[in-house]
């Protein structure tokens, strides 16, 4: 028994200790052997399914042919990147990706915050629970079903056109008009995610010290004033972290939903880098070209994330790392 106790306390010491690196590692492996056994499948999974594909990105710089394999294919440098930058698609894809992301940030991101603030002001807790239960629900519905309902409701003889016709509007085939795609995409995203997104802000609000509200009431602050001076600052750290995370997904906006909703008549506004990679890579088997496009996208994404984190770090002390 005393041996077990001794091992335990030894293990509690900080990992890098004064006894030197090698001795520490060996002792750590011996004491925590079961924990390292547990980590084997986990680490193996991440290495195989995440780090091997990162290594596989080299095919973006090679002329990959399945017969020669990843090793045997010839290096071509930045040829596929140049092809992409000079192609007719480049600016259209970049514009669509950036615009959809930007609108998502502009409308989708604040929507959850506003909903959380409004829910927080409800006086009836029963109504609050009801609205929450209802608005979380679309988050659990599959994209295929959501897209299917959109296709049905937005058809020329669908629900939306029928309702609009009461006001004398001409029927529109919404999903065949490139001018409508962004509106449909963003508003259905808000519909599906606004409730779910508000959970985190509501829990941040419930963590605000009630004495702050009391003090501001004593000072004569109105409810609007309390929202501005107590609630908003209280959830600000959460807002900033989620904003950074959202920026970290800036370039990967809704690829799978777009795949369900777009068609050749809406490519003009709907085609994004993610859907293009799918078409070129999976459907047309242009593996190297498609990997180059995907890598370009991932690098912009990662740069944006690092920038957002750095800016937030300097200005507000909130950071992901």
């Amino acid at each position: 028994m005393s041996l077990m106790l001794k091992q335990r306390s030894a293990a509690e010491k900080p990992a890098v200790d004064k006894n030197g690196w090698k001795y520490g590692t060996l002792r750590d492996l011996r004491i925590n052997k079961y924990i390292y056994i547990m980590l084997v499948p986990v680490v193996a999974y991440y290495v195989l399914f995440y780090y091997v594909p990162m290594y596989g990105l080299q095919i973006a710089f090679k002329d990959y042919s399945p017969g020669l394999g990843m090793w045997g294919s010839d290096w071509v440098g930045f040829r596929y990147f140049n092809d992409f930058f000079n192609s007719y698609y480049f600016w259209r894809l970049l514009r669509n990706t950036l615009l959809l992301s930007f609108y998502e940030l502009l409308f989708g991101f604040p929507a959850s915050i506003i909903l959380a603030l409004l829910l927080n002001e409800l006086r009836s807790s029963r109504l609050k629970r009801f609205v929450q239960t209802v608005t979380y629900m679309p988050h659990f519905i599959s994209l295929v079903v959501v897209a299917g309902m959109l296709v049905d409701f937005l058809a020329r003889d669908g629900l939306i056109n029928n309702v609009l016709s009461w006001f004398g509007a001409e029927p529109v085939a919404f999903l065949r008009e490139s001018g409508w795609f962004r509106t449909i995409f963003i508003s259905s995203n808000v519909w599906q995610s606004v409730g779910w997104g508000s959970i985190i802000y509501l829990s941040a609000m419930s963590g605000i010290d009630p004495s702050l509200y009391e003090a501001s009431r004593v000072d004569g602050a109105s409810r609007w004033r309390q929202t501005l001076s107590v609630t908003l600052p209280g959830i600000m750290p959460t807002v900033v972290i989620l904003l950074i995370l959202q920026i970290g997904h800036f370039m990967s906006v809704g690829t799978d939903k777009i795949l369900l909703l777009y068609n050749s008549s809406t490519y003009e506004t709907a085609d994004v880098i993610g859907t293009f990679v799918y078409r070129k890579g999976i459907l047309e088997s242009n593996f190297s070209y498609s990997s180059a496009v995907g890598l370009f996208n991932a690098l912009i994404n990662f740069t944006l994330l690092v920038l957002a984190n750095a800016i937030s770090r300097r200005t507000s002390e909130n950071k992901l790392w």
């Binding site: 077990m4 390292y36 399914f49 239960t133 659990f140 049905d152 959970i199 990679v277």
Partner: protein, 291 residues
């Protein structure tokens, strides 16, 4: 406390606004449900909003359940959900336990290696080629193994494990328990709320997943329900489902089959949801704040 006119106006508008939002969220589902049990001929002619079924008919459900593609899809999805979620819970528990122990020296580098994949990864094509090289293309494994765990859920579970008092673990170890015993006999039973959240998150994502099946599967017999649903709802091919239906009836019933299929594919999730709802708010909270 007396409320001013402005405050009462705000409270009133807020209630109205929240009720409107609930209506906008619920109505599409209500519409689909009503249309699915109404007389198909009426649904096609009907213009505008509906509030109650007209001419009760379950014919579209009968066609959905008679359809072999839907049934195999349903079976496949159940398999992917059960096997996939079981693997998810096992892998995530192992990782979360190992990375929640203070004394492990390599904890931080491993954690970094995992979290980094949330922000940068090889992307679609290299991953596809890997799955191909592993011989998983067009096999059920492709829908289970490559999504064996998610870094985000690992963080949620790790945070929950960290809150279990260390004294319980210490006393178990004094009694000769090793880390596997501690995890499965002490930590997991004490963390049932977070396990419930994980089952919900992973289960729903398997149930709703379609993109992996689209790129990795060729054989229709392996398709999950969502891919079959995609054919019916998006590419609009309900013809294959109506082999037994006479010409004139085809058009109307094609419309209501879509609604019935939506209901059939969605109801299991919505049945699960109220039971787990009280847990997942906690789960989201832990994950996002600490992540």
């Amino acid at each position: 406390m007396k409320r001013s006119f402005g405050e009462r106006l705000f409270d009133g508008s807020n209630v109205v606004l929240m009720l409107l939002l609930s209506a906008v969220t619920l109505y599409p589902f209500l519409y689909v449900l009503i249309a699915s049990i109404s007389d198909p001929a009426w649904v096609v002619k009907m213009r505008g909003l509906i509030w109650y079924p007209h001419g009760f008919s379950l014919d579209s459900y009968k066609l959905v359940f008679d359809n072999p593609a839907i049934l195999t899809g349903y079976g496949n999805t159940l398999l992917y959900v059960v096997a996939g979620t079981a693997l998810n819970i096992l892998m995530t528990s192992l990782g979360a336990y190992a990375l929640s122990r203070q004394s492990v020296k390599w904890k931080n580098p491993v954690m970094f290696m995992i979290v980094f994949t949330m922000f940068f990864n090889g992307g679609l094509i290299p991953t596809y080629l890997l799955i191909n090289n592993l011989g998983m293309l067009d096999s059920r494994w492709a829908l289970i193994i490559p999504s064996a765990m998610s870094a985000y859920n690992l963080i949620i579970m790790r945070t929950a494990f960290q809150s279990v008092p260390i004294s319980l673990e210490e006393s178990a170890k004094l009694d000769g328990a090793n880390d596997f015993t501690v995890l499965f006999r002490i930590i997991l039973p004490l963390s049932m709320p977070v396990v419930a959240v994980m089952i919900l998150f992973y289960g729903v994502s398997h149930w709703n997943s379609w993109f992996n099946a689209l790129i990795y599967l060729r054989t229709r017999e392996l398709y999950p329900l969502q891919l079959i649903l995609r054919e019916i709802l998006i590419t609009n091919s309900t013809d294959s489902m109506m082999t037994g239906v006479g010409g004139a009836d085809k058009m109307p019933i094609g419309e209501t089959i879509k609604y019935a299929a939506i209901i059939v594919a969605t109801v299991p999730i919505l049945l699960l949801y109220p039971f787990l709802q009280k847990y997942f708010v906690k789960g989201v909270m832990i994950g996002a704040v600490k992540g």
